[in-house]
């Protein structure tokens, strides 16, 4: 005998994500989910981004790693509230789930925050599947990772609103075809915003900061 079930496997996560979303709407907090492979320069990019947003836009960060507090320590130099989540308590999860974000947000004074940045676990696969209640998703891709990455991880590039092509200061030393990389990103997601940046030198940051500010202000208005 067949019994119909018809439920999404990630129902529980999706429900939690919706709860997060309405809570962040009530609190007027814009939530940015930042994803990438390990070592793409997420943390440095965020430190530099936050420094440019302050004091106009008040920020806080939830940072996810399987273990260690290295990223939280690096981010705390900006002076903003930082909560480190270590997923080894949850079985070494490869992504941040919605309930983890909900719990982490409890230890942040959301009233004093305009922009909550979630630095997801370094991984181009799993975080793409999990809604956390965010307003926008950004993927960081560094020029040392190869031009083909968007083609190999299409879901990540489909679900994100913008891509930051990072470490462009290294281009003179690499046999990297930047145009090919951008072409591959747009082949997966034709209306994606692509920003070429160097987190080290901060070259190319202005358009990215404008893109982000515009979205945050729209939600706060």
């Amino acid at each position: 005998m067949e019994i119909k079930v018809v439920r999404k496997v990630l129902d529980v996560n999706d429900t939690m994500a919706q709860q997060n979303r309405s809570r962040f709407a009530d609190e007027k907090v814009f939530v940015l989910n930042v994803m990438s492979s390990p070592g793409s320069g997420k943390t440095t990019t965020l430190v530099k981004t936050i420094s440019r947003l302050l004091p106009e836009i008040k920020c806080a960060v939830i940072v996810g790693d399987i273990c260690s507090t290295i990223d939280a320590d690096r981010l705390s130099v900006t002076g903003v509230q930082v909560v480190q989540v270590n997923t080894d308590e949850f079985g070494g999860d490869c992504h941040l789930a919605a309930h983890v974000i909900g719990n982490a947000a409890n230890s942040i004074d959301l009233e004093a925050v305009d922009l909550l940045i979630v630095e997801n676990v370094g991984n181009l696969v799993c975080p793409a599947e999990f809604d956390i209640g965010e307003d926008a998703r950004v993927v960081v891709l560094s020029v040392t990772e190869g031009e083909d990455k968007p083609l190999k991880y299409p879901l990540m590039f489909r679900v994100c609103d913008a891509a930051l092509l990072n470490k462009t200061d290294l281009l003179p030393y690499l046999e990297y075809d930047k145009n090919d990389a951008v072409k591959n990103i747009l082949q997966i997601h034709p209306d994606m915003s692509v920003f070429e940046i160097s987190a080290k030198t901060e070259e190319g940051f202005e358009p990215w900061i404008m893109w982000l500010k515009e979205r945050v202000k729209k939600k706060l208005a």
């Binding site: 005998m1 067949e2 019994i3 119909k4 079930v5 018809v6 439920r7 999404k8 496997v9 990630l10 129902d11 529980v12 079985g91 999860d93 490869c94 992504h95 991984n123 696969v125 799993c126 793409a128 599947e129 968007p150 083609l151 190999k152 299409p154 879901l155 489909r158 591959n184 747009l186 082949q187 997966i188 997601h189 034709p190 209306d191």
Partner: protein, 116 residues
């Protein structure tokens, strides 16, 4: 990479769907749909399911996966096609404004129990 967690969710949802009023139920199959664009590897999921299902009300059940192709529709010219490679522009008019109609599924469809 998170197939173990997904398998645990499947077992939890499927176990909650077993009728309460019948004794000694043997669940034979759990039917699910997995979209080709989802971040799940069917073989890994089956492997994890076999481990997770032990000592649960679903012990001995088989996970049957129907893979769902990625189907898109163009917002400009209304063409519909199946995406098989990493290209998400319209095959007819090359527009980038498309909707994904299927391929993101990760759904439990049904459970099948042995006839008493």
């Amino acid at each position: 990479m998170h197939e173990m967690g997904i398998a645990m969710q499947i077992v939890e949802i499927a176990a909650a769907s077993i009728p309460k009023n019948v004794e000694n139920i043997q669940v034979e199959r759990v039917n699910i749909k997995v979209g080709k664009l989802s971040a799940v590897v069917p073989e890994s999921l089956k492997f994890c399911f076999e481990i997770v299902v032990k000592d649960t009300p679903l012990s001995g059940a088989r996970l049957v996966i129907e893979e769902v192709p990625v189907v898109a529709r163009c917002n400009e010219c209304s063409a519909e096609w199946t995406i098989t490679g990493p290209v998400f522009t319209c095959i007819k008019c090359n527009s980038g404004s498309i909707q994904i109609l299927s391929g993101r599924e990760l759904d439990i469809v049904s459970i099948e129990i042995a006839d008493p």
